[in-house]
C-alpha cells in the first residue's frame, strides 16, 4: 500500500513535469514564425562553415535585427537540408553532382592546394604517378625523379583535415597507404616543416603557399599537369587540385536569402575568404 501511494504521485509529477516542459518549450515556437523573415538558417559542409559563419556575422552587423544561424554536418547534409527546406541555404564544398542540379548554386570561394618543395630542390615538376609513388613510399630518394641524391621527407596532413581529403581524392590515394615521415596539423605547420627541410615534400592550401613565398619562405610551388600553382589559376578554374565552395538554394533566391547570397558573393567579404586560406572567385 505504501509503495502504491508513493509510486503514483511520483509518476504523476513526472507527467506533469514533462507536460510543463512541453508547454514551456513550445511557447517560443509561435513567435518564431514572425521572425522567419528576419532569420536565416544555413547548414552543410564543415569546411565551408567557418567562412560562412564569419560572412554571416558581418551580414548581421550590416543588417541589424537579422539573425543568421550556421550549422555544420557535411556537404550532403547541405544539399538535403536546402532541398527539404530545413535550411534556407546549404553549404557544399564540392561541385554539385548531376542529381543535385535541381538546386541553384553560388560560388563563394575556391579551395586550391599546391604540392610544395624546398626552394633549393632542383626538381621542377612531378607527374601524378611520381607524387603517388613518393607518398606511398615507392620512391624514397630525390635522384629517382631527377633530383639530388637525397632522402625524401614526406609531409602529410593529420586525419580529418579537409586538405587531406582533397589531396587523397585527387590522387586517388588511401590514407592507410601513405608512408609519411612527418604528419602536420595545419597549413602553417606544413609550411614550416618543408621550409626547414631541404628534402621535404608537402602540400598546403595555395593561398597560404603563395603568401609565404611572397614573404620570403624558401618554398617552391610545383605545377600540376603543366599548370602553374597560382591563385590566379585556381580562380579561373584551370588548376586541377582545387574545389569550389558553394552555397546552394532550392529555388531562385528571394528577399533575405537573395540579400545574403549577393553579400557572400560580393567584394565585401574578400578579406574573410582570404583569411580562411581560400581563393576568392573572380568578381
Amino acid at each position: 500500500m505504501v509503495i502504491q501511494n508513493l509510486r503514483l504521485p511520483f509518476l504523476d509529477s513526472c507527467v506533469a513535469l514533462l507536460a510543463a516542459c512541453a508547454v514551456l518549450l513550445s511557447a517560443p515556437d509561435a513567435s518564431a514564425q514572425e521572425k522567419q523573415d528576419k532569420k536565416l538558417t544555413i547548414t552543410g559542409a564543415s569546411t565551408a562553415a567557418p567562412l560562412v559563419a564569419e560572412i554571416a556575422k558581418r551580414f548581421e552587423s550590416a543588417n541589424p535585427g537579422v539573425r543568421v544561424d550556421v550549422q555544420t554536418g557535411g556537404s550532403s547534409r547541405g544539399v538535403n537540408d536546402a532541398r527539404s527546406g530545413v535550411s534556407d541555404i546549404g553549404m557544399v564544398s564540392r561541385a554539385l553532382s548531376k542529381e543535385e542540379k535541381d538546386l541553384k548554386s553560388f560560388l563563394i570561394a575556391n579551395d586550391g592546394m599546391s604540392v610544395i618543395l624546398h626552394k633549393t630542390n632542383p626538381v621542377q615538376a612531378l607527374t601524378r604517378e611520381q607524387v603517388i609513388d613518393i607518398y606511398t613510399g615507392k620512391i624514397s630518394n630525390w635522384k629517382e625523379v631527377g633530383g639530388k641524391d637525397q632522402k625524401i621527407t614526406v609531409v602529410n596532413k593529420a586525419e580529418g583535415r579537409s586538405t587531406l581529403e582533397l589531396f587523397l581524392a585527387f590522387f586517388k590515394l588511401n590514407n592507410r597507404d601513405i608512408k609519411a615521415q612527418v604528419v602536420v596539423g595545419d597549413n602553417q605547420q606544413g609550411v614550416k616543416t618543408v621550409a626547414g627541410n631541404p628534402g621535404a615534400i608537402g602540400y598546403v592550401s595555395i593561398g597560404t603557399a603563395e603568401f609565404e613565398v611572397e614573404n620570403g619562405q624558401p618554398l617552391k610551388l610545383l605545377p600540376l599537369g603543366g599548370i602553374a600553382a597560382t591563385t590566379a589559376n585556381v580562380r579561373n578554374g584551370s588548376f586541377p587540385l582545387a574545389r569550389p565552395i558553394n552555397i546552394v538554394t532550392k529555388n531562385e533566391p528571394l528577399g533575405l536569402v537573395k540579400k545574403f547570397v549577393d553579400f557572400a558573393q560580393s567584394t565585401a567579404v574578400t578579406d574573410l575568404v582570404k583569411e580562411q586560406y581560400f581563393v576568392p572567385p573572380a568578381r
Binding site: 564543415s46 567562412l51 559563419a53 564569419e54 595545419d186 597560404t208 580562411q276
Partner: protein, 309 residues
C-alpha cells in the same frame, strides 16, 4: 618467512629432505620473485596512468598557456576563433550543462530511488529498466546526436538550441547517474531503513533525511562522470545545440559548446591550433572546478543530515 628459510637450510636436516628442502627454497624464491613482480606491476600500472594524465595536461598546458589570458575568457571569438576569445562559447557550454543537470538529476535520482527502494530486483519492470540502462550506457554518442536531432530538434520542434543539446546530453548522462545513485542507495545499511521506519518516518522522509544524504557521495560521483561525458561531447552536440558562436539570448538559441569549438578549431580552421589548445586548457580547468564544487556541495548535504558519530 624468515624462520622457515633458516629451518630448511639447517645442516641437521640435510640428509633425507634435502630435495624437499631445495624445492621449498626455490618455491620461496619464486614466491618472493612473483611477489616483487606483482608489486612492481601494480606500481607500474599506477605510474603509467598518472603519467599519461600528466602528459596530456602538460602537453595542452604547454601549447595553450601562451594564448590563455583574461581577455581570452571574456572576448567573443573572431576570425573563426583564431582571434578573440571564447566568452560566448563558455556561456553556451554552461547553459547546456545547466539544462543537462536540471533534467538529469531529478529524473536520474527518481529512477534510482524507484529501482532500489520501490521495486524488487527480480520484478519484470525493474529488469526491463535495468536492461534499458545498460544498453543506453553503451550507445555511441553520435547515435544520441542523431536521435537528439530527430526527436528534440525536429519532432518536438525545438530546433538547434541549447535546450535540445542539454536534453540530449541528459539522455547520455542518465544511465551513469542512475547506476551510481542506485549503488549508493543499496550500500546504505538496511538497519537504517528499519530504524527510520521504527521512528515513524514516512518513506519519503526517510529518503530525504537518511538515505539520499548517505548516498550523496555516490550520486555526486555519478553526476560528475555524467557531466564529464557530457561536457566532452562533440558528436551529440553538433546536431543538437549546433555551431552558432553568437552570445545566446535564450535557451532556444543555438550555442556552440567548448568541445565543438575545439573540434572545429583543430579540424576546419587553419591556424586555429593554438586557440584549440587554450580552449582545451579551459575545458580541463572547468571540469576541475565543477568537480571541486560538486564534491563540496555533496559533503555539505551529507553533513547537514547525517552527523558523524
Amino acid at each position: 618467512m624468515q624462520p622457515d628459510s633458516s629451518v630448511s637450510c639447517a645442516p641437521g636436516l640435510m640428509a633425507a629432505p634435502s630435495v624437499a628442502g631445495s624445492t621449498l627454497l626455490t618455491a620461496q624464491v619464486h614466491a618472493k620473485l612473483s611477489e616483487r613482480l606483482f608489486v612492481a606491476a601494480v606500481w607500474l600500472a599506477a605510474a603509467l596512468v598518472a603519467a599519461s594524465f600528466l602528459w596530456i595536461v602538460a602537453d595542452i598546458a604547454f601549447h595553450g598557456f601562451a594564448k590563455l589570458s583574461w581577455s581570452f575568457l571574456t572576448e567573443a571569438p573572431r576570425s573563426s576563433g583564431r582571434k578573440g576569445g571564447i566568452s560566448t562559447i563558455l556561456v553556451s557550454t554552461l547553459l547546456i550543462l545547466a539544462v543537462t543537470v536540471a533534467v538529469a538529476v531529478p529524473l536520474g535520482v527518481g529512477v534510482a530511488v524507484w529501482l532500489s527502494e520501490f521495486s524488487r530486483r527480480s520484478s519484470r519492470t525493474a529488469r526491463v529498466i535495468n536492461i534499458a540502462l545498460d544498453v543506453l550506457a553503451g550507445i555511441p554518442s553520435i547515435v544520441f546526436g542523431l536521435f537528439g536531432n530527430a526527436f528534440f530538434c525536429v519532432f518536438l520542434g525545438l530546433g538547434f538550441s541549447i535546450v535540445s543539446g542539454g536534453l540530449t546530453l541528459a539522455c547520455m548522462a542518465l544511465p551513469i547517474l542512475i547506476r551510481a545513485t542506485e549503488s549508493g542507495l543499496s550500500a546504505v545499511p538496511h538497519d537504517w531503513r528499519q530504524g527510520a521506519a521504527a521512528l515513524g518516518l514516512s518513506k519519503a522522509a526517510a529518503l530525504w533525511h537518511v538515505l539520499l544524504p548517505a548516498a550523496a557521495p555516490a550520486i555526486t560521483a555519478g553526476l560528475l562522470l555524467g557531466i564529464g561525458r557530457a561536457v566532452a561531447e562533440t558528436a551529440a552536440l553538433v546536431f543538437t545545440s549546433g555551431y552558432v558562436d553568437r552570445m545566446p539570448e535564450s535557451l532556444m538559441d543555438s550555442g556552440r559548446s567548448l568541445a565543438v569549438h575545439i573540434y572545429d578549431l583543430s579540424m576546419n580552421v587553419s591556424g586555429g591550433d593554438q586557440a584549440a589548445y587554450a580552449s582545451a586548457l579551459v575545458l580541463i580547468g572547468l571540469l576541475i572546478v565543477i568537480n571541486a564544487v560538486a564534491i563540496q556541495l555533496s559533503n555539505r548535504f551529507m553533513k547537514s543530515r547525517i552527523q558523524p558519530a
